[in-house]
Structures are given as structure tokens and as C-alpha cells.
């Protein structure tokens, strides 16, 4: 792959890779590092990339593998986990979470990695089910099941939040 192709097919999609890494790692700096690392690795192996049919799906899959390795490595080294565990928001966070959009982002972030990756690949990046199946190394049917579960969970949480707000108002 020539440098021009590398720019158009990989570097121009670095924002997409960044969003995906951020979704998995749930940390901006770690996501940025992951994108840099992956880009450098791909650059070093650019001559082999000509054989790849769907370069974008390939880079997304490589990104996911790299991020999962990072999470595993952080766990092995007993460092602070990149992923954070969900906890009930404190009063300060509750103030911030008044905005429903922020709450929904938080809801998506608290989904299991596979589900949040799938929902973002589909609803944000508008990828085909077959591409998502390739990236996540699961069947298309499994992608649909996980997508459905992820959307249903978000829907339930939105409805619960709506109910909670209404109850607060009528108290």
C-alpha cells in the first residue's frame, strides 16, 4: 500500500478508530495511544495491507484486538484498570446527569464491551452487520442478538429514568 492510499484508507478514518477505541477503553488518553500504536503498526506492515479486502473492517478489528490486549495487560500488571466499574452517581454527578443525552452516553458506556462496541459500530458508524461480525469475530446472528440486547437495555434504562423523573416531580 502506497503512502497516499494509507492516508486515504487509514489516517482519514482515525476519528472513527479513536471513537471505537474510546468506546472499548472508556478512556480518552488510552484511546489516543491505541490509535497511535495501531497506526504505526499498520504503517510498518503497509505492504501487506494490499491483500486485505475490506481495509476499514480490518483496521476496526485490529483496533478492537489491540484495545482488548491493553485491558488484559493492565489487569495482569495490576495497574489501575482502564475500564471503570459502574457505580451509582454521586450528587455532583447527578447534577451533570440531568441532561438525558449525558445519561444515555453513560448507559452505553456501562454496557458489556461487546454490546457497547456493537451498538456504536451500528448506530454511530453505520456499519453493516457482516462487517461488525468480522470485527468482533462472531456470527452475524450473534451480532443481531447482542445488538438487540444492547438496545433493549438502553430502552429499559431510558424508561426507568423517565419514570424516576416523573415520580420526583409528583412527590
Amino acid at each position: 500500500m502506497e503512502s497516499t492510499q494509507f492516508n486515504t484508507q487509514i489516517l482519514n478514518h482515525s476519528d472513527k478508530l479513536f471513537r471505537f477505541a474510546k468506546s472499548i477503553l472508556r478512556n480518552v488518553d488510552a484511546a489516543q495511544d491505541a490509535v497511535q500504536e495501531l497506526t504505526m503498526k499498520l504503517w510498518e506492515k503497509r505492504h501487506q495491507l494490499d491483500e486485505v479486502k475490506n481495509i476499514q473492517a480490518f483496521t476496526m478489528r485490529s483496533m478492537r484486538n489491540l484495545c482488548l490486549d491493553t485491558i488484559r495487560q493492565n489487569r495482569d500488571e495490576d495497574e489501575l484498570p482502564v475500564e471503570f466499574e459502574y457505580s451509582e452517581p454521586n450528587p455532583h454527578q447527578q447534577t451533570e446527569l440531568r441532561d438525558l443525552a449525558t445519561q444515555i452516553r453513560s448507559m452505553i458506556n456501562n454496557l458489556p464491551e461487546l454490546q457497547r462496541s456493537i451498538i456504536r459500530m451500528r448506530d454511530v458508524e453505520e456499519m453493516e452487520i457482516s462487517e461488525i461480525a468480522y470485527v468482533t469475530s462472531i456470527t452475524e446472528n450473534a451480532v443481531s442478538v447482542n445488538l438487540s440486547r444492547a438496545r433493549q437495555k438502553i430502552r429499559d434504562q431510558i424508561l426507568n429514568e423517565q419514570k424516576r423523573v416523573e415520580e420526583t416531580i409528583w412527590k
Binding site: 503512502s3 482515525s14 489516543q32 490509535v35 454511530v124 438487540s148 440486547r149 431510558i158
Partner: protein, 171 residues
């Protein structure tokens, strides 16, 4: 509204196509959303907002910068190689291009006979110069020959001293 209800249910079951999902996004981006659906507006807004999430560090500069450094090295090696080749070529070609000529008083002379005559003439001149230069040496030989009797006198004196010594010892 009925159609949108069905489409939303289909969406949460994970069965919608990309075009149907785009239709939903379009519906929620407009102002005429029915109150029953208003609760889901933020969900689709989040997807649009997340799409604007971009990488912060200057990733694009990483590869071209490396390429530039690499290009400098490639150019340096190329130019060095060309220069070395030229030197080698000249060195190889030089004996083949050797011509018989001489430079006399800054003028190139290709006529070998003329050069030979000129050289002979100069050598004769040198010979004459040497002859003139050795004339004083001949004069010195004459002086040496003239002084030869002086040596005889010295020998006679030495002999007389020897005889005198012998005579004194006998007395």
C-alpha cells in the same frame, strides 16, 4: 405514527436495516416528533453527537514526518551512490581514453615526432650545460697534478725525521 411505532419496535429488536435506521434518525432530527416518541429523541441525538467526537492529537503528522526523514535518507544514499558510480566510471574509463600527447609551453602537441625532436634538443642542451659545468673540475685536476711535488717534499721530510730519530737512539 403507527409506522414509526413499528419501526421503533423493530429497531429495539435489532431487526432494522441501515436505511430504516437512517429514516429513524431523520425523523428524530426533525421538530415534528410525537410526544410518545419524544423520550427516544436523546438516544438518536447521542449517536449524532458521538459521530462528532474526534481524535485530539496530531495523528496525521506522524506518518508524513517519518516519511520525510526516510526520504532524506533515501535521497542521501541515492546521491552518494550516483557520485560513487561516476567516480568508478571515470576510473574505469580513464585508461581506455589515454592518448599520446605532450604539453610544451602550455600547448598540447599530438605529433610524436615533433615531441621527440623537441625532447632530443632539450636533452642536448642539458648535456652541453653539464659539459660546461664540469670544466672547473678539470682545472682542479691540473692543480692537483701541479701540487704533486709538494707531496714528495713532505715524504722526504718524514723520512729525514725518521733517520734522525734512529741516529739519536744509536748514540
Amino acid at each position: 405514527m403507527e409506522m414509526m411505532n413499528e419501526l421503533l419496535e423493530k429497531y429495539f429488536r435489532g431487526e432494522t436495516s441501515l436505511s430504516e435506521e437512517k429514516e429513524l434518525k431523520h425523523y428524530f432530527s426533525k421538530g415534528n416528533v410525537v410526544p410518545e416518541h419524544e423520550i427516544y429523541r436523546s438516544l438518536f441525538e447521542v449517536f449524532e453527537l458521538e459521530l462528532k467526537d474526534t481524535a485530539t492529537s496530531p495523528l496525521i503528522q506522524v506518518i508524513p514526518k517519518q516519511r520525510k526523514i526516510k526520504q532524506i535518507w533515501i535521497k542521501t544514499f541515492a546521491y552518494t551512490g550516483i557520485a560513487a558510480s561516476l567516480v568508478l566510471l571515470m576510473w574505469v574509463q580513464l585508461p581506455q581514453n589515454t592518448e599520446n600527447y605532450a604539453v610544451i609551453n602550455g600547448t598540447r602537441i599530438d605529433n610524436p615526432e615533433y615531441v621527440q625532436r623537441y625532447a632530443q634538443k632539450k636533452l642536448n642542451y642539458v648535456n652541453e650545460m653539464l659539459k660546461d659545468g664540469l670544466k672547473p673540475m678539470k682545472r682542479m685536476n691540473v692543480v692537483n697534478h701541479t701540487l704533486q711535488p709538494l707531496n714528495v717534499i713532505k715524504e722526504t721530510q718524514d723520512k729525514m725525521i725518521e733517520i734522525e730519530k734512529t741516529h739519536n737512539v744509536n748514540n
